[in-house]
């Protein structure tokens, strides 16, 4: 069989990082903004984010959270309150220093009215939300407080990359305070479980939930839980984190309450977040050499109908059939919402139009032309099959089987991603084998190595330098046995996953 040509150049195997950029562009998801490190999220990419928001929001509300909104701008003194927190974020803060612009002697617009105290654009909101919680909490009866915020944050990035690392990104940040340590710890875990389930069942990302080692914790957290996903180049991507904050921010912001025994106590906190980075994870997990491949449940639309009109005289009948089918399909309910159906009636040739939708990754394409009308059928193409693999079926058969087909496609994408992950996740107990696993080839990244380790961070400097790997997590998966540290031979209670990472 001759190898066909593909819509994306380069292909994955040729240059994975460049392939990623090309898919994001070809799928019309986002583009670099004319502002350093920032992106414009285009309608098709934002449609994915809207679905992520809707689905997560339902899950947050079902677990007792309410949404609220806190200021974008945070006084410097708030950041100073928690030492590790400021250390973690000082290097990437955008700082507002002036409140007005004026025209200078050269006719140029320049900042004026310096602020008494500079403000930072929030990189995260623990400090400002902690300050508010200290006003809202008096008694144990006020606890827990379970809040979520949908917002933009800014973290100055030196090497920005669309969705994966951008100076500004969109996210949700959950912030909670509890009366007891155990309740806060359980809550951090509960929200990680919500993330795990959402990624698996909605985004078709078979993430590995686990605990970060101390060196990888969020600045100011006592414990950071994470979900780690394997991309098609076998690198790891941290898809979400949930932090048990202990009492650090409660002590920094004075969040105290009177317990049932009349004693003043500091509250126990959690915070957790997921970001527009998830869209990058979707691309790097599911896309192929023809562009994006969208899991049906997250797609902004599941179906596109493409009228095929070879002669102008065919137009009325074909368009009527397309409109009628659109209405029938939109009456279906998929993943708790009306099925998303696009009818692409633009006056363009059908070849380029078809390829636009392939590159966008819409799960199902339906073509209707004069011959289909005569035969009483439609042509169906699945994004998870070859571009020309056509099925012909009656409209009734389409309507009757479409939802099952979407479910099967969704399940297929998860299986495929899980197979890749499982194939490239290996237990390694020998340092030479670990070096061999992460070969020096910059296109092939080994995968996830589950190793034993004595917990001493010193070993990591060498591994990080030699292999460019980092500790990802101690997985919650209890199938791993205790063993011996790969560096020292000392006892180790659990395996940790290491990998190259985004």
């Amino acid at each position: 069989m001759n190898e066909r040509s593909y819509a994306i150049t380069p292909r994955r195997q040729e240059d994975y990082p460049q392939w990623y950029q090309e898919v994001v562009k070809a799928a019309d998801l986002a583009q670099n903004a004319p502002v350093r490190g920032c992106m414009v999220i285009k309608p098709w990419g934002y449609g994915i984010w809207e679905n992520i928001q809707k689905e997560l929001d339902v899950r947050f509300k079902a677990t007792g959270h309410k949404n609220a909104y806190f200021p974008l701008l945070i006084p410097l003194r708030f950041l100073e309150k928690e030492a590790k927190h400021v250390e973690g974020f000082a290097k990437e803060c955008a700082v507002v220093t002036h409140a007005r612009l004026e025209v200078n002697e050269h006719g140029r617009l320049v900042p004026a009215d310096p602020l008494e105290e500079p403000l930072i654009v929030r990189p995260t909101s623990e400090t400002i939300i902690g300050e508010m919680f200290s006003l809202w909490v008096q008694s144990y009866r006020d606890l827990p407080i379970l809040i979520n915020q949908w917002a933009n944050v800014v973290r100055w990035e030196l090497r920005p990359r669309l969705f994966l690392r951008t100076a500004e990104f969109l996210w949700q940040e959950g912030h909670t305070v509890h009366a007891t340590q155990a309740e806060a710890q359980q809550h951090a875990r509960k929200m990680l479980d919500v993330y795990t389930d959402f990624c698996r069942n909605f985004l078709a990302l078979p993430v590995i939930p686990g605990r970060k080692p101390p060196t990888e914790r969020f600045p100011g957290a006592d414990d950071t839980l994470t979900i780690e996903a394997m991309m098609q180049d076998r690198k790891a991507l941290q898809a979400g984190t949930s932090h048990f904050l202990g009492q650090h921010f409660s002590k920094a912001s004075n969040i105290q309450f009177l317990d049932a025994q009349g004693q003043q106590q500091y509250a126990w906190g959690t915070s957790w977040g997921m970001t527009t980075r998830l869209i990058g994870a979707l691309v790097m997990t599911h896309a192929d050499d023809d562009g994006m491949v969208l899991p049906p449940r997250i797609a902004p639309a599941q179906v596109v109908i493409l009228p095929i009109i070879p002669k102008a005289a065919d137009a009325p009948a074909v368009m009527e059939a397309c409109q009628a089918l659109k209405l029938r399909l939109e009456a279906l309910s998929y993943a708790g919402r009306p099925l998303g159906v696009e009818l692409d009636a633009r006056d363009l040739r059908s070849g380029p139009k078809t390829w636009e939708w392939i590159k966008k990754g819409i799960p199902i394409r339906i073509e209707i032309g004069p011959k289909d009308l005569e035969a009483g059928v439609v042509s169906l193409y699945r994004r998870d099959q070859e571009p020309k693999a056509r099925q012909t079926l009656s409209t009734d058969a389409l309507v009757g089987t479409l939802l099952d087909l979407l479910d099967a496609m969704q399940a297929g994408l998860l299986e495929k991603a899980q197979a890749l992950r499982d194939t490239h996740t290996v237990e390694i107990d020998d340092l030479a084998a670990l070096y061999a696993f992460f070969s020096s080839d910059t296109q092939i990244h080994g995968g996830f190595a589950a190793i034993h380790w004595n917990g001493d961070p010193a070993h990591w400097d060498r591994l990080a330098q030699d292999l460019k790997v980092s500790p990802r997590c101690f997985p919650f998966d209890r199938s791993y046995e205790p063993g011996k540290c790969i560096f020292t031979g000392e006892f180790s209670a659990e395996r940790m996953i290491v990998a190259r990472a985004y």
Copy 2:
């Protein structure tokens, strides 16, 4: 009849501005943030905003718009491109000048790494979106582009006030470009009609749609359309605006397209926005001396169930009945969504608990106690009636009539607001009468005066100074006859509404 006491001090008639602040606080909608001019939107207030978002979003999508996201930070040079625009916004721009923090010799955190070009925090996004449109538009086939963004913006405010004027606020901003002037003008009007309909039918705000005089236009617009609402103190509040931008931003950003005849043309633009200010408008239109009064369609929840438990032994039966009722009510659909039902099972005395919900403005309170259980009834209280006005009815009767009751309450609030507006909207043709209408009493603001005027802005300096009024709009309402300018006696084709305003 003895006058009862009220939950809010002062009452509206005593000190309206202070009453407003107290209602916002008592209803737990928002509070001032420890950041100058900024607010924290608390869950009950944010729940209103979420409903506003959901409803507007449906209407924007039904009129062909897609959501997208553009950067928060805008280079100074973008703002410079449109002369009137920069003049309008330069005085209220937060400016980011540094990208890092460092600890100085005194151990204090200070800004470091000055940016080559300062960035402003977006006060609105015409300039950055215009820049992107210039990349997206090549041919007439690419038009129209219909985009909406949900975002935060920052405009430095010298006299901030919760919801009404805050340094940061949340909003939606629609941005469109079209091939013809007529299409863009019609689109600006179409979106104002969407706003008008939404305010009237969803927020129970009987707004007056109209056109701003030239002096009151958005900086850079050729025409600004507005909806103006009358508050209970008879001042005007601008609830939303829609701008026909002409070709100003297209020329500034070089948004050109090849038309069907092969000629390069500049596109025609619109922009339009509504903000969290609407929540302030809801308070000032519907709240009373006991706190917030929420139109049922916008309320975060329509019903609260309050268990009455005089003795601990009653608790199981009462709670079971409350839970069962909650499930039954939640199965109802109201305004296109499941009915919102709160069950307040907190361990607090029922008096304070009841008053919390009155102050929050929830439309319906249901009490269930042991005596109700015995009699097979529940007690119902409406927020639009006296706090103690109780109706007793069976659960079946409640479930059967609740939706009609909510519709009646929604209609009643609109009628009441409209009656106030109509009573205090008068045609005035005599300058002395105009001065009398806007008396010097600072608590009573006359209302809306519909006057004739020759269009010369010079007259306004005097009126603004003497009466603190401003031109609000030329209403689209065509019932007004032509007449003579109130200042000069010259011919005037249409009346303009003037009022004191927020």
